[in-house]
Amino acid sequence: MTSTFIRHELKAFWRSKNTGKSIVIRVVMSLLILYLLVNIFVLGFFLDVVLGKVFPKDDLVISFCGIILLYFLSDLFMRLQLQELPTLRVQPYLQLPVKRNALVRYLTFTSLFSVFNLWPFMLFVPFILKIISADYSSITALAFIVSLLGFTVFNNYLALYIKRKSNLNGWVFLIAAGVIILIGLSDFYFHFISIRKISYSFFGHLTTQPALALLPVAFGGLMYYLNFLFLKSNLYLEELGSRKDIKYKSSTEYPLLSRFGSAGDLAANEIKLVLRNKRSKSALIMGLFFLFYGLLFYGKPGPAGSDGFKVFIGMFMTGIFIINYGQFMFSWQASHFDGLLVSKIKFTDFLKGKYLLFTIISTGFFVLTTPYIYFGWKTLLIHFVMYLWNIGVNTTMVLFFANRNYKRIDLSKGAAFNWEGVSGNQWILSLPLIITPYVIYWPFAFFGHADIGLTLLAITGLIFIFTRSFWIKKLEADFYTKRYTIAEGFRNK
């Protein structure tokens, strides 16, 4: 059965309207991953040397045992943001004589094929073979590898479990990320606990009691089982969801927006779209999560706290919604795109509505970043410049790419099995958006005139804002050459 699913998935990939784009993304992704893997492998190979340098006072094995859990904690944090959820459109199989367990097993097993599961082995196994098996015995070395396996599987399924939960409710993601950050802070900032000591207390005992390796394996197995049960019970989710959900849906109007005419009505509709669909709503809540990025970097010594980095963080904090939501444009409206095309809407108004939406939400995010004035008025100034950049340049770029997006998103389907786009791939698509401000800012900053660079960013942003009507005309003309392809792609279920 599994092979049939894989074959169907491959067909879905090759026969999709977006195959070309997906392939480009995959190639770029695999190059990046390959580069990272080589780095990690080199790091793993010389881990003994590195550990000796970083902790010169400690015994090599003690410091090695100390960092393992630390690694897995940061691994979990990375996975939460980047790991891809395996997908399968389960609906067509549900009424067929296909065992539910087979479906769920396919979904859970394929998630193991992730590079994240290679990293710990690349990083730690060379050390284990070089030092542990020499100092202790090959049994101990095996015990280490087995417990690595256990922790990897555990992390893999824990991350997926949290991600699946947070697809249903965006707050879960915020809470989970908050807990991980809190654990990290209570070690490095408050010094309540020491993760390295905890890690050593387990792996240290492992050197004398190899059988302890079965403990993480048991954890891993438990987490797998939990995932399995969650998925299995959620195969029903579509019907359950609609039956449980008997809350009265009231109509809302945004009188302020109706002043903007058709464009305002369209923006109002789109705000409703964002708030009333789980997936788009998570995009908004994720944006709130990014508001904390400043706390992680600002005020730190070195490049992390520099103005150049603030340009980057500032753009993310005020524009994350544009990047996150905008890159799937106009797919969000795929299910009623035909209706929009035949109704009495000018495409100019349609685009104006988009600009309005982005401006409103970006303004909201900018206002939320004002407390960062704590790090100096210049921080806020940089945020403001990047806010101008976002509503000027990035909105236009996002809409330019939107004219090239032919893939349907079915919002009416439950979010539990609708995961496309919640992975590292989406960051690749946003690369042009992230790089462009640096093309302007970096050359000046490099020669010590960062302020000129910043001024230029602000001016460019303003120019784009004031020439909006020009860009709207360009985008409209561009749209008319592609509208049939877009509409056909959206009709393609």
Partner: protein, 247 residues
């Protein structure tokens, strides 16, 4: 009202629509019939500028449909659920559509109160988004939004398919009333031959993308259509057996 010239749509080398010439006059009521794959929906979509024909053009009121927007002011259409904004409540959707035609919410409410029978209490003030409605009720929302636009040209693709018998009856009356009393040009496709001959004055029969019959409805039209669709096959089989027995 509508003029089609030399219209052709080809998918993968197969011609799915081929209409050399068709003229529909103002105030006519047209019924479009044909088996699955005959090209009815494709023809509708080309008339609404949703897909690009390989050749030819469609004019509504003398204006090219492709690349122009004027026809949208007086044309209302409902082909499938893809025309509805499904995360809105029906009321919000009606206000939106009304707003596009410069109608105030109060005016829209007033208009909708005239459709109480048609809605049968299943659409308004139910506290549901359009996506939570059944297909039949979604169709009611689509048809009502067409009526709201006060169109001069109304296009409906298989409107009878998902709605209950009472609503079918009401819809027929509404369409007849629009056509006879308000002079609206109507264009409706259906698989239900009874309904279509009842509502429409002129029937277009499509087969493999070509309009093979263009008939004014009369008392014999229904049996003529029934002959084309069903009896052909029913007769074909016995005839063969007869021949075998004769030999």
């Amino acid at each position: 009202m509508i003029e089609i010239k030399d219209l052709k749509k080809i998918y993968n080398g197969v011609t799915v629509v081929n209409v050399p010439h068709l003229e529909i006059k103002k105030g006519e009521s047209i019924g479009l019939v044909g088996n699955n794959g005959a090209g009815k929906t494709t023809l509708f979509r080309m008339m609404l500028d949703l897909i690009r024909p390989e050749r030819g053009e469609v004019l509504i009121n003398g204006e090219l449909v492709a690349g122009h927007e004027n026809w949208k002011n007086f044309t209302a259409s409902y082909l499938d659920e893809g025309f509805l904004i499904d995360y809105l409540t029906p009321e919000e959707y009606f206000y939106f559509i009304g707003g596009l035609h410069q109608q105030s919410p109060a005016h829209v409410d007033d208009f909708l109160s005239g459709l109480t029978d048609f809605f049968n209490g299943e659409i308004l003030k139910r506290g549901k988004y359009i996506r939570d409605l059944s297909k039949g009720n979604q169709c009611k929302v689509g048809v009502a939004s067409c009526l709201l636009q006060n169109p001069q040209l109304l296009m409906l693709d298989e409107p009878f398919a998902n709605i209950d018998p009472s609503t079918q009856f009401r819809l027929k009356n509404i369409v007849k009333d629009l056509n006879k009393n308000k002079g609206v040009t109507t264009l409706i496709s259906s698989h239900d031959l009874n309904h279509i001959t009842d509502v429409c004055d002129r029937i277009l029969l499509m087969e493999k993308g070509v309009i093979i019959k263009d008939i004014a409805t009369s008392s014999s039209t229904l049996s003529e259509l029934e002959n084309y669709f069903g009896v052909e096959q029913a007769f074909a089989a016995p005839v063969k057996i007869d021949e075998e027995e004769n030999h």
